[in-house]
Symmetry: C2
Subunit: 433 residues, 2 copies
Amino acid sequence: MKPVKIGICGLGTVAGGTINVLKRNAELISGRAGCAIDIVQVGSRKLKDHVDLAGIDFTTNVLDVASNPEVDIVVELMGGYDTALEVVMTALKNGKHVVTANKALIAVHGNEIIELAQSKNLVVAFEAAVAGGIPIIKAIREGLSANAISSVAGIINGTGNFILTEMREKGRDFADVLKEAQALGYAEADPTFDVEGIDAAHKLTILASVAFGVPLQFDAAYTEGISKLSTVDIEHAGELGYTVKHLGICRLHPEGIELRVHPTLIPSDKLLASVNGVKNAVLVESDAVGQTLYYGAGAGAEATASAVIADLVDVARVINSSAHAAVPELGFKPKHVKALPVLPMEQVSSAYYLRVLAKDRPGVLAKVASILSDKGINIESIMQRESEEHDGVIPMMLVTHVVCESAINSAIAEIESLADISGSVVRIRIEHF
Amino acid sequence: MKPVKIGICGLGTVAGGTINVLKRNAELISGRAGCAIDIVQVGSRKLKDHVDLAGIDFTTNVLDVASNPEVDIVVELMGGYDTALEVVMTALKNGKHVVTANKALIAVHGNEIIELAQSKNLVVAFEAAVAGGIPIIKAIREGLSANAISSVAGIINGTGNFILTEMREKGRDFADVLKEAQALGYAEADPTFDVEGIDAAHKLTILASVAFGVPLQFDAAYTEGISKLSTVDIEHAGELGYTVKHLGICRLHPEGIELRVHPTLIPSDKLLASVNGVKNAVLVESDAVGQTLYYGAGAGAEATASAVIADLVDVARVINSSAHAAVPELGFKPKHVKALPVLPMEQVSSAYYLRVLAKDRPGVLAKVASILSDKGINIESIMQRESEEHDGVIPMMLVTHVVCESAINSAIAEIESLADISGSVVRIRIEHF
């Protein structure tokens, strides 16, 4: 199938990530999409050197991209409202599909953009606008298409979640952590959008619309930030069994929708309460499947690029529309399916938990340790227990570093052959993820 | 657009759930799909009365469905290998798309089924075969299409996870919990497939193929069950900072893939370690987005139906293939988008955490409690702290039951007007999810 040609507007972090991933994974992406995705033009007020643009036409006028007759899909990665809106509307008027990562643009101007796209039978895709690389728009619109969705709640601003995590774990106060977040590049010099919940409200507005099938209503969203939250309340909440998160919550009622962003206590044993640092997570409540949760990186160049490119692949399928353009069963078109074998377990590496029952004699631990050491197996920790059964046998628990399974198997065989060892060694693999 | 016509083979739990959800959410589903999905025939050896089949043709010969000229999509929900394989191959030979929830069938016979489907330009969809209602196949094949995926690890058998959760939380032994799982209907009379990891290996085989683009290789999967796991090792693991889970793990290497199901220790602070009971979760590691995690119900009639119907909607879009058949921007076709307003916060209900600074005089708590009670606000818990600043002011923390925001606002105004109260009341909303 012939390549789909794209033009990218903007040359910031996300644009750089998108260009890099499209290049690095070009073969893999065309194997999934059924056609190549070629960047024919990039537009940005300034040329920047963090991306290699060799072989790609460059223009300082982003509207050139929206009017380029070569371009099938315009990728808007500039951010902001004004020029971005002009680019997107011009692209649609010129019959081009649009992919955007711009949450503010969709939350505020989405209704008019979508109306124009639909009247021209074009696609506007915005997976990257919400929760970065988590495919949450796809999960809601397609994965849960059977469901009446009743609510969506999410940690959808990584900066805010990083600040709250630090406040809770280290008892630091808001202003102190904000400064660190700014130094780390997690927060902007003007942190208002992140800490006052405006960014989260943009994303929540979009989530509510795709979950409930209602127009985008950002102006009506209730927004309360975390800048006035005090560490003492986070501590008290912890003692009461709760964790404080900055949540976006939307909920469907017959007479309207709830659309609100504010600090919220959630029971500490809920999965959402365990989402820490800059990570995002979205919890969807629906009638058929019940609760589902989606977790991952909510920001970052390549994480956001992941969502931008997923949209590009989807639009490429629409452009090449036919049953052949459906998602391939094994994720890749048949000629891209690789005949890789499954590796035998002896070739798999892992850390291991071992439980050895040792007779209570001096030197047993030294013998076991020396067998492991001879096989090149490093021990991370050892724990010994008093024998509970007073039978002179002491359980000894060892945690190893990562090692090939063949090595641990041969070490276990030697340990089991020691006269000081009773019965067989219990072996359970450890993964740190 | 004209309705897409489906025929369902099988009349067990999942078929019942699918028929019920298709009926209950018919309007919503056609609003998303752009056309109605009509059940024209159901085939099952026996007619069962747990589903209302009014208006639907019924046959005791499932092969009738695979040959019915009225049917566009055959939905195979019988399970097992033999008849299911015959039904699916017959349907494809007759030019019908196939949707199936049958993990064993796809893991074992998937390569030949997919080959036939591709040669006939038909879709075989199997979202429901892995992790029930979690849209994990879609997330991997479409949501992460930009990514080189390096590993997938999942808790993909709810029965096994329920047993391990009980063993860990209550110190019970395997045989004891298995009996309860059987009584609760979580485990079959013959629990081999679940507890020995065969069911998980079927699902993992499919996950590996869609993640890495390799043929299905169930026969080469390594499978180790949980039936020999002892409670004492789960306890020791806990003391070492680990939680034991029955994981399916696949990992890509240049020379082959790892494909293994076995008990695994994972650090207890990882999200995957917090997935308890019958729930499933899948962790995907990839190069652009990093780690993403997908969580939800891995089994159950309507949870699985959710995935079956998502596939039906996708196939309906392929059948009605055109740009109009793309996923609607707001999840629903324009005429199904509802003009619902956003509710004012005063109409939103929530539980609340309140922090009140009370002067250290008798009766303050009683006054606060009586204000709340007058507004119909029930108190769930109260916690008082000694004043740390020795200024005679005592912080009092209250957690309320769910109440309308207008009530809490008016109560707070009254509390703040008390002479015994210092400064303003801190109010943070609580959600229990």
